[in-house]
Symmetry: C2
Subunit: 399 residues, 2 copies
């Protein structure tokens, strides 16, 4: 009697696995700057919290499998604000963007089928690929190129008879890269040429800097039958614990499959759906101050990192992550060392080793992902600690 192969091989969260070291440090009175995980410190908007607090149904009962109509209308209206025409019947509310990933994966592929994903990529795609038994075929991007998409030939080289879809995350987690309309258009044409689905993880849509604008895969009407968008309110409204996302498709067959998967799990959480409705009713005006705050933080983190000898980083345009090459051989060892041994004035910093964001073995060993989800002064302090740690590590540990 043995557990399943997928149960034995599914990736443990590379972001969370160093948490015990951080907890031990914190318990010992050390101040830890958490720059490892995208859990924003921006307060959850009051309308969300008020919707929760004013929940007054006598029975907390099931909602529809596809989510409340009112929420699906609000989501359609939100996309409409960006010139993307959706109806509520293109939208399935999910338990977090996470569930939308699972449903999308299961709708496009059967066990053993392949999906092409530029790496480094959001590490939880691995967990869902294991669960759905799909094979992720990575396409390696480079920090020196700012993790931009390569020419279409490099995608072509990854496509085989069992390839069912390409996954694009923009603004990207973990690199922060925002793909241009031209870059995304190239992949759209590839999907059309090769009969593939295109899954767009666009949960960081609102976090785009330098005057750029986000391009959604939904803007390409010629590919309306093959684009599936993974969406979420977690980062958009600083409410990661709400677990409200959406899977969006204009292909009736895809929608029907997503809906049936959704029916198996009955419904998304009712209270947070009400909260999400209140969130969307705030309108697009809510986002600008938040966006500016993250843009400022990005500048601080980027400038600070650029000033550290041996660090390689390109200025990302979106999300709230940065992929960074460090002058170390093994960032897992470095992260562990920082949490367990290094202190600067009784402070240390936690970042995420990036090897877990690659599926090609051996890649990303000298890279980390940083999330700029802390206040500017904390980022500055975290940078000072990181810089001092790196110096000491290179002279005392990895000589």
């Amino acid at each position: 009697m043995e557990i399943s192969l997928r149960g034995r091989t599914v990736q443990a969260s590379p972001i969370r696995k160093f948490k015990p070291y951080a907890d031990a440090a914190a318990k010992a009175g050390v101040k830890v700057y958490f720059l490892n995980i995208g859990d924003p410190d921006i307060p959850t908007p009051q309308p969300i919290l008020e919707a929760v607090r004013s929940f007054d149904d006598p029975i907390l009962s099931y909602g529809p499998a596809q989510g409340f109509l009112e929420l699906r209308e609000e989501i359609a209206r939100y996309f409409g604000g960006y010139g993307i025409s959706l109806t509520p019947d293109n939208v399935i509310v999910t338990c977090g963007g996470s569930e939308a990933i699972l449903f999308a994966f299961a709708a496009v592929g059967d066990p053993g089928d392949e999906i092409v994903i530029p790496e480094p990529f959001y590490t939880n795609y691995n967990g869902y690929a294991s669960l759905a038994d799909l094979k992720i075929v990575p396409l390696t991007l480079k920090v020196e190129d700012g993790y931009r998409l390569p020419p279409v030939e490099e995608f072509e080289a990854k496509i085989g008879p069992r390839t069912k879809a390409v996954v694009l995350c923009s603004p990207n987690n973990p690199t922060g890269t925002v793909y241009s309309r031209e870059e995304i258009g190239r992949v759209i044409r590839l999907a059309l040429d090769r009969g593939l689905f295109l899954i767009g993880d666009e949960v960081y849509k609102e976090f785009v800097y330098d005057g750029l604008r986000h391009t959604s895969i939904l803007e390409f009407d010629e590919a309306a039958d093959r684009t599936i968008v993974v969406d979420s309110i977690s980062k958009r409204f600083s409410c990661c614990g709400a677990r409200i996302g959406a899977a969006i498709s204009r292909n009736p067959k895809v929608y029907e499959a997503l809906l049936r998967f959704a029916q198996a799990r009955l419904c998304p959480p009712s209270i947070e759906q009400r909260a999400a409705i209140a969130a969307y009713k705030m309108g697009l005006g809510y986002f600008e101050p938040v966006r500016r705050e993250y843009e400022r933080r990005r500048d601080v983190l980027y400038e600070g990192l650029s000033a550290i000898p041996g660090v390689v980083v390109r200025k990302p345009q979106g999300a709230f992550y940065m992929s960074v090459r460090l002058p170390v051989k093994d960032s897992e060892r470095f992260v562990t060392w920082m949490l367990t041994e290094f202190r600067l004035d009784n402070e240390t910093v936690m970042v995420a080793p990036e090897s877990g964001f690659y599926s090609t073995p051996g890649k990303g060993l000298d890279e980390i992902r940083m999330a700029y989800v802390l206040k500017e002064e904390d980022i500055r302090r975290g940078l000072a600690v990181l810089k001092a740690g790196l110096e000491k590590y290179r002279t005392a540990v990895e000589r």
Copy 2:
């Protein structure tokens, strides 16, 4: 470009697919008695609603993947109240019992592997078997036997080289049967003999009548390494929309796999976890009046059905469902007719055709599932409508 086979073949909810007819009837001013779905009318306990309303974190942030420690402690304490010794590290909080089913399925089997389930069974196992690409091997039970478990030889006959687990739901959805300690013990021994996992769906644990007590698969210490329990607060505390369940295992390898699947989706909803903590803190005393209320309803429904000519039903001992054989050829047609054509004093009744609860084709065509989740007077009225409808249907439609 086609969607996946599982996306094309996953079962549409047989409970929800008649909903549009019911909605149309309701819209036309017809009073519909909903005896089709297990969405209780018992008010959600005040401590749950108060916990929701008093949520005062400034940021609705991620919790741990395995759920809040305090909730896992409460769940362990709850089981302790039934003599089952668990630690918080045996418990993973899930997004509803639904997610626990998915994680359990994925932990025991790989695509193409088989799980044996007595039928009729909770229809959503089908959706999760599709998603995880497991094959359900049904073992058909009979209304005349009160849907009790057959001799072990009948289980043995269903076990092949790819069988990984047996799923037992007790108290059962849709039959209401509560398996005895002896019945469950037989399956435990089978699991030990044949090296199988045993997944126990015990979400109706509190709903047991006639002075019987529920036997959990966790009570069999000799099988501690192979039992996985699917649990949920949905029915227990009349809060189906909360989406808080649990997967429970004392096998460290199983637990690790469940945890990694859980990490991929980050965390269960934070607010409802707080609500669940408040619910468990009410203690076991909460359940008795609720249990008695359902027992009374069961008696009313059972006596009413027994008095209708041609109806075959055995008195079930638990949950709030009853599987019933009707004197009709096709219960889907009957249910549709009831919703679209039959009215008694401008009222009709909705029940669930039971063929969707079988995976053997052609089974259950003359059966329905009824959920006694309405007040006694509504059940009595629903019975009168059902009786009149059946008479008319048999003389006017299915002559």
